[in-house]
Symmetry: C2
Subunit: 160 residues, 2 copies
DNA sequence: CAGATTTGTGAATATTATTCTAAAATAGGT
DNA sequence: ACCTATTTTAGAATAATATTCACAAATCTG
């Protein structure tokens, strides 16, 4: 069920490194690169999934292609009691909201939002955020340009 | 030969929706779901890649499994001239830095950083950020808990 | 509407995924 | 060290998928 003990060896790391860079790499290729049988790789990958080390595989789509050109970060102060996250879950349900983080200090959340343009952002704030009870205030930061945007983690190497 | 004209139909959207949710869905399955020949799907997927609509496929790995438990956002003010992004590129090269955004207003950047713990963050700020010329000041926001973290885009549906 | 281009189908072949059994490796306990 | 239980791997056999290609259908374009 939940995330069990995690004990990953360098073979797992190698698999993760490959998968992180191209999730569509097939078993046969991974097996060749690691010099192992495809069946062994398949077994390991399944376990990595079961152990929730690999959470999901997803295609990164170009926002421009879908006309989602505006990225914004919004700090949201709420009346949520510490520990409770009612507003957070409501925020998480909004499709345009890609991330919801409970942050320290400001008794609030930081969310990442993608809309087509400024009008879309205004619309979202007015018609969606505006209707959520418990939001006290918001502070929006507009992204002019994204230089890097990945979810890749630093994976330990055998010699480090 | 960058991103050319983008003209996506509802079949492309459907493929993107499937791929966004599970990048390892095989061609045959997609073909079955769309009621088309696998060869046709293969053709479309290749074109989506060529047109840079699909940017990459990646496995989302559990940060906890790799002992990267601390997520932080750091606002960085620099002496970069507007339009120039020297510091941004240096920041982008840091493995622990997952995102680098040029933001409006504060003549600075917002970066997203993942470290093992607070000590790792301090270490990064001191030994890596500290050595980058042009950084004037930083303001760090610690994430206590992440409620949602995805890169999924809103994909238009036929009836919307 | 004709010619040209794009996109799709269907079949054939190459490659890969998956399953299974036995061997090898590993971990624990004495 | 040794034996046993457990985990992991290899290897072969089979099922399924990927990929290619020729031709048909659909779609532009002018």
């Amino acid at each position: 069920m939940g995330k069990l003990e995690i004990s990953l060896d360098h073979i797992d790391y190698h698999i993760l490194r490959i998968m992180q860079n191209n999730a569509r790499t097939n078993n046969a290729d991974i097996a060749r690169e690691l010099g192992m049988a495809p069946s062994a790789i398949l077994e390991r990958v399944k376990k990595l999934e079961q152990k929730e080390v690999i959470l999901q595989y997803n295609a990164k789509i170009n926002p421009v292609a879908l006309d989602q050109n505006l990225l914004s970060f919004i700090f949201i102060k709420t009346s949520d009691i510490i520990g409770e996250q009612g507003v957070a879950y409501l925020l998480a349900e909004i499709p345009e909201v890609q991330e919801v983080h409970d942050i320290a200090g400001d008794d609030g959340y930081l969310i990442k939002v993608r809309t087509s343009d400024a009008a879309g952002l205004v619309d979202l704030m007015r018609n969606t955020l505006g209707k959520i009870e418990g939001i006290i205030s918001t502070r929006t930061t507009i992204v002019l340009e994204t230089v890097k945007e990945e979810q890749k983690l630093v994976i330990p190497t055998p010699t480090a």
